[in-house]
């Protein structure tokens, strides 16, 4: 029974990958990709409505349902964007139909991996699923086969495998700590069982395990100092991949960290995981915000902005407490929606202009009004201007940091201001002023961009009470 309800979000992507492997013709397969992503989204909606009972393999609770809904939704909108994006790539000959078949298959495998990581109740299975999602994105990042793309994929792969190793070692250590208490076998890997007995685990092993888990999954979440793969992977891969990397995969890695955080917080004798996450998050945010200035490549710039946001979110969750957790959760959702919308615009812009160099992109609001304003709106949202969703979450994070750790709030404010300045400065040049270069027609799909931005705007003004209660409940779970 449990299996049936959860299986929709898993079986659909997997079956779709198999079908896509057999489908010739990129037009059909990109439409099929949209259909499959839509069905997965429908499956997730069904999961929200009829939550299955707890099983030993699958777990659907208030916390991961947020992630699943977000994951499948952005997965669907990205597939819509992807269809118009790749049509252009085929026309210009940057991608061949063969490569596209490969691309679609791995798109669905990645969705499968992420959904599995989110619904599983088993920390071993979660590790496998995150790895699967990572490896499929590695392959997609290298798809253009230019030297830069290969280097980006290689770097991603090497750093990713360091993350793989750390996360697995941490998982093994958790099992080693659990095994004397819950007995050998599956119990020592089942998250709910672990949580129930966490207080009895050996704190010394748990301490070391958390460091490995934070480093391991933190690599995937783009946390400093193992973030170096992220800007390259975003800049050199196809833009739909950048959108799902920023919007989804980073969240999935963060989700893994949060699950473990709950586990560790339940044991009074371990070093609290919060401060460690705060330090890492803050270092990430400060570092990334200053790295935003010297950027020349538009996708690379927004990749650094993703690192910065991941830092802030990690900081908020590390700070803990009802308000900061709520803020972290809200920021995560808002960042996913906004950043993927930005990448949608950026994808069309770089295709229309034939370059990703910011210096060559000028006067967008004049030459491509819809695209240009889409980008401007996205940027206004991402830097946290009121009255948008990100402003609300950042405001909550900062005010709760000032109340509880004022000395840490200061660098956070500096980071936010620095990021604001850098992104605004770069965007101003691109969006306004006289148009430069040739103006080629662009067949962009604006629907995904404006749906995302619409939600972000709406969330800044009014969040439905049901959602607030839901998020508050999750914030309480996170401790």
């Amino acid at each position: 029974m449990t299996f049936d309800a959860v299986s929709l979000v898993l079986i659909i992507p997997l079956a779709a990958a198999a079908v896509l492997a057999a489908l010739p013709g990129y037009k059909t397969s990109s439409r099929f990709n949209i259909l499959a992503s839509f069905l997965t989204l429908a499956g997730a909606v069904d999961l929200v409505a009829h939550r299955p009972p707890l099983g030993s393999y699958f777990l659907v609770d208030d916390m991961n349902i947020v992630f699943i809904a977000l994951n499948t939704f952005v997965g669907f909108t990205t597939s819509v964007f992807s269809a118009s994006y790749i049509a252009h790539e085929i026309r210009t000959g940057r991608l061949t139909p063969g490569l596209l078949r490969f691309y679609h298959v791995f798109y669905q495998i990645m969705m499968f991996g992420m959904n599995l990581a989110l619904v599983t109740n088993n920390i071993g299975l979660m590790w496998v699923a995150v790895e699967l999602a990572t490896l499929s994105t590695v392959l997609m990042v290298g798809i253009y086969r230019t030297p830069e793309a290969i280097e980006a994929a290689w770097k991603y792969f090497i750093l990713g495998s360091v993350g793989i190793a750390f996360a697995l070692f941490g998982t093994t250590l958790i099992y080693a700590a659990a095994q004397p208490v819950v007995g050998a076998g599956m119990n020592g890997m089942t998250w709910t069982t672990l949580l129930a007995h966490s207080s009895a685990f050996d704190p010394a092993i748990m301490n070391i395990a958390f460091i490995f888990l934070l480093m391991g999954y933190g690599t995937k979440a783009g946390l400093f100092p193992l973030h170096a793969w992220l800007p390259d992977a975003h800049a050199e891969g196809p833009t739909p991949v950048s959108a799902v990397l920023s919007g989804l995969l980073l969240n999935v890695a963060l989700y893994a960290i949060l699950r473990f955080k709950i586990l560790f917080a339940a044991n009074a004798h371990v070093i609290p995981p919060g401060p460690l996450m705060m330090v890492v998050g803050l270092a990430t945010a400060v570092f990334a915000s200053f790295m935003l200035y010297p950027r020349h490549d538009i996708k690379r710039m927004f990749a650094y902005s993703s690192i910065e946001h991941m830092g802030i979110i990690t900081f908020a969750f590390g700070l803990g407490g009802a308000i900061a957790n709520f803020a972290g959760l809200l920021q995560m959702v808002m960042h996913s929606l906004t950043k993927s919308a930005i990448f949608f615009s950026v994808g069309h812009i770089s295709q229309a202009k034939g370059t990703q160099r910011m210096a060559d992109i000028r006067g967008l609001t004049e030459s491509y009004p819809l695209l240009g304003w889409g980008l401007v709106l996205g940027v206004v949202a991402i830097v946290g201007m009121p009255p948008l969703g990100v402003f609300m979450s950042e405001f909550l994070t900062i005010s709760s940091a000032f109340a509880r750790a004022p000395w840490l709030a200061l660098p956070l404010v500096v980071a936010l201001l620095a990021a604001f300045g850098a992104i605004m400065r770069h965007t101003h040049g691109m969006a306004f002023g006289a148009a430069q270069g040739e103006i080629r027609p662009s067949e962009a799909s604006f629907i995904p961009v404006f749906i995302h931005l619409g939600i972000v705007f709406a969330a800044g003004v009014f969040i439905p009470a049901a959602v607030v209660v839901w998020f508050q409940h999750v914030a309480k779970m996170l401790g």
Binding site: V128, V162, A165, F169, Q179
Partner: protein
């Protein structure tokens, strides 16, 4: 568990770490791969011995996978790649034997100090295995960061995975799902790496990652290619 049983397990785990240490200072790729194959054999023996001690039949499968796949298939494939890429005569000198050994010993000492202290309450066998596993993991990492050649980086990664399997096998009754998945992920990882290598070969004419480093950041192609050709001049084959 008898003393002899424990000593055998201890010896095998120690040998695994020793193989990692030996890899640190290998300058020739073939020698490196041979030692990796040896390490995989030791791993297979070690896991099989754990299967005997823990009466865990599923660990025999893990041992078999380790032996067939890691000791035979991967080294063979790497040999093929090296010959095909014509880099079998290349000699790497990144850090000298002396410093490499010292750094290796320091990492091993660190692993022991951390793990033995942390796992005071775990059973003795798992404790030793976890400590050695961390040492192998750190040594593998060190190899990955000090080597420039893509093949040696792969070998570093694979030896690091050996340490992870030792840890998983040494921990009593760790579910089988995980072990299969480890083997599976290595397979996938290997396919990925293979694909990458060939593409790197196509594009760069050398698998030296210094050529790749030249592309870092936002530099353009034209600047980076001279570096590639410069790297290449040394290893012209007849």
């Amino acid at each position: 568990m008898g003393t002899l049983d424990f000593n055998i397990a201890h010896m095998l785990a120690g040998a695994l770490m020793l193989a990692s240490m030996t890899m640190l200072y290998q300058k020739r790729l073939f020698a490196l791969i041979n030692i990796y194959a040896l390490q995989a054999v030791i791993l297979a023996l070690s896991v099989a011995w754990q299967a005997v001690l823990q009466h865990a039949a599923q660990l025999y499968i893990t041992a078999l996978i380790a032996f067939l796949f890691k000791a035979l298939v991967i080294p063979y494939a790497l040999h093929r790649i090296i010959v095909r890429l014509r880099i079998h005569r290349e000699i790497e000198t990144v850090i000298g034997t002396g410093p490499a050994m010292l750094a290796g010993m320091a990492l091993t000492g660190l692993a022991m100090a951390v793990m033995l202290r942390a796992t005071a309450n775990v059973d003795l066998l798992a404790r030793e295995d976890l400590a050695f596993a961390l040492a192998v993991l750190l040594l593998g990492l060190m190899m990955m960061v000090t080597r420039r050649n893509a093949v040696s980086q792969i070998v570093g990664f694979l030896s690091l995975e050996n340490g992870l399997i030792l840890a998983a096998a040494g921990t009593q009754g760790m579910p089988f799902v995980v072990e299969i998945s480890i083997a599976f992920s290595i397979l996938v990882a290997f396919v990925v790496i293979g694909v990458f290598l060939f593409r790197i070969r196509e594009r760069f004419d050398t698998v030296d990652l210094r050529a790749l480093d030249a592309f870092r950041g936002e530099r353009r192609l034209a600047e980076a290619f001279p570096a590639t050709t410069a790297c290449n001049e040394g290893d012209e084959m007849p």
